[in-house]
């Protein structure tokens, strides 16, 4: 499988890092050699709605099997504070490049 996949960003919770209409290039192989670290920008499968992807920042990695994610615009973000930890198998990959509009 090709490691890079592009996603288009929607919604406001990652401002000022990402805004609606931006693109991100995600490296799906990034976590083959290491686990997500605090501060990484990641795309994950929404634990509340499996067909949807979320772009968030890793707030903590309490153990090797799961991470806590948070939006940079934390007043409005729906994230691990609402839905709890995200299992590592839900992590699509690490944001490798941001394409701002």
């Amino acid at each position: 499988m090709f490691p890079f996949r592009r996603f288009r960003v929607e919604d406001e919770s990652m401002r000022p890092t990402l805004a609606p209409g931006d693109y991100v290039l995600v490296n799906r192989w990034a976590y083959r050699v290491r686990t997500p670290a605090r501060g990484d920008l990641v795309v994950v499968q929404d634990p509340e709605s499996s067909e949807r992807f979320l772009v968030k920042r890793v707030a903590d990695a309490p153990n090797p099997r799961e991470i806590l994610v948070k939006g940079d615009n934390d007043r409005v973000s729906r994230d691990s504070r609402a839905f709890g930890p995200v299992p590592l198998e839900n992590v699509i990959g690490k944001v490798w490049l941001r394409l701002r509009r």
């Binding site: 996949r5 592009r6 996603f7 288009r8 960003v9 929607e10 919604d11 406001e12 919770s13 990652m14 401002r15 990402l18 609606p20 931006d22 693109y23 991100v24 995600v26 795309v43 929404d46 509340e48 709605s49 499996s50 067909e51 949807r52 992807f53 979320l54 772009v55 968030k56 939006g71 615009n73 409005v76 973000s77 729906r78 994230d79 504070r81 609402a82 839905f83 490049l97 394409l99 701002r100 509009r101």
Partner: protein, 173 residues
């Protein structure tokens, strides 16, 4: 606008990129179907009280008529207000709590919400025991689905209120 961004937009015309949501919500997560059920009970209670109210006969004094009017007005106002509360609470659960994934497991959820809203409107407009009971029934069924999504079993028992209608409660043990 960067060149790479323009390139990504061009690629979207050939094959649209999936969306990654920077999903927003006030992270509250506090929902409970009991508000809707209680409001439905209040509507039933008001209908019962209205029906039990002794209507002033032809020989009633002005004071008796006034008392009747005052009581009726209060019951009707409360009935309408709580029918609206029940509808609002159902809408909150439907719009904010339930997600498309829930619908896969509970495909009749939309229909139940629709029934709750319709019977809520009817119970508000009319003095109608059946409509107010239908409202409670729909909120009970929504409550049962809600608690299942939380991994909790439910029981259906007589409510400890004067209305005494069967009500769905979660089993916490």
């Amino acid at each position: 606008m960067s060149l790479l961004h323009s390139l990504a937009r061009l690629l979207d015309r050939i094959s649209p990129a999936p969306i990654a949501y920077a999903h927003c919500d006030i992270p509250c997560g506090i929902y409970d179907p009991h508000h809707a059920q209680m409001a439905a009970h209040t509507v039933i209670r008001m209908v019962d009280l209205i029906n039990q109210l002794e209507k002033p006969g032809p020989g009633a004094t002005p004071e008796q008529r006034q008392e009747y009017m005052a009581k009726l007005a209060r019951y009707v106002a409360t009935k309408e207000q709580h029918a609206e509360i029940a509808k609002a609470e159902v809408r909150i659960l439907w719009g904010d709590y339930f997600k498309p994934d829930h619908l896969k497991t509970f495909p009749d959820l939309h229909d139940l919400v629709w029934k709750a809203l319709k019977s809520g409107s009817k119970a508000r407009q009319e003095i109608n025991v059946q409509a107010s009971e239908d409202l409670l029934k729909a909120t009970n069924e929504i409550a049962s689905i809600y608690w299942k999504t939380k991994g909790l079993e439910t029981i259906k028992v007589k409510a400890p209120y004067p209305t005494e209608r069967e009500t769905v409660y979660p089993k916490f043990h």
